[in-house]
Subunit: 159 residues, 2 copies
DNA sequence: ATAAAATCTAGAGTTAACTCTAAGTCAAGT
DNA sequence: ACTTGACTTAGAGTTAACTCTAGATTTTAT
């Protein structure tokens, strides 16, 4: 079974332009061509394509993905290097997810801030008296509520 | 207490160039200037800066962050809009984290693939006999191990 | 007092990752 | 046979988010 660039693009939900760009950047050395020079993807190619999509999603730059594909084409002598590459990006991805969890927590604290302001009808309830400056104690109050067992997502939910 | 652009840059671990760029894009309308025209950040400004950094980390484009800051400057009539904005990006961030978890799982399956290949000394153990194509059953074997209680991170770990 | 470091603006340059255009070839349907 | 649409390449254009340069001014340190 073989697939045109358009069919692959549809399956992966990326444009044919992007696939050609990846090819230009050396990410698709495994793709066959027919007599007329058109790309003919085969089933096994999706194993590579899945890796490319995965690394993209993980935030790995195209150049580095190209490097990994080079290692794949080089054969068994690069198995350890490939493992190390993936292990490295696994660590980076875990670190990123931890950062995003903090970001999410912050977003929820701000939601709580606006929820309580909305209920009061004004943001002034969070200000130090006579100023437009947020009272630092407000943040601490939120942290206390979380420490006392309330989940940030619960606290941030309005209705 | 007030802070120069350099001091703020250091605290937030971004360059003064970037801060000036944010200002140019309308993200810092709250910053005061001294007699000579230099930026003078005050303690309360860090409440805004924290939000900017948070939204950046969440992947929100600079233009949209500028829109949010505009809402902040507009006063209490925009409280609901601001809440909705944060709730929207909370959802987007959760969706992204779910995608990243899948990406991480895929990365770990590939680590297991290379780990087992390394132990065998060759990637051929994963190929269909007489081909260079990966046996689809290999992926299923990994999934079965995970279903039987092994964690993907355990399976992917070498040594 | 003076040198060095930090800041200012306007605007140019950079980079990554697409995204598209042009001009041509090939394939599928009527 | 012919039209329509998918594909090819080379190369230009776009966009976002910085990142830097130049030339002037201000602040800090000796």
């Amino acid at each position: 079974m073989s697939y045109s660039i358009g069919q692959v693009a549809e399956k992966l939900d990326i444009s044919p332009y992007t696939l050609r760009y990846y090819d230009k950047e050396g990410l698709l050395p495994f793709v066959d061509r027919n007599e007329a020079g058109r790309r003919q993807f085969k089933d096994n190619d999706f194993n590579f394509l899945e890796v490319i999509v995965c690394l993209k999603e993980a935030g790995v730059p195209v150049k580095q993905i190209g490097h990994f594909i080079d290692l794949c084409m080089a054969g068994d002598t690069t198995l350890q290097t490939r493992y190390d590459f993936l292990a490295d990006h696994e660590q980076q991805l875990m670190a990123k997810m931890a950062r995003l969890q903090h970001t999410l927590d912050f977003l929820r604290w701000k939601k709580w801030y606006y929820k309580t302001a909305l209920l009061a009808g004004t943001e002034r309830i969070h200000y130090l008296p006579g100023t437009n400056h947020v009272n630092p104690a407000v943040r601490q109050k939120f942290e206390r509520l979380v420490a006392d067992g309330a989940s940030p997502e619960e606290l941030g939910r309005l209705v």
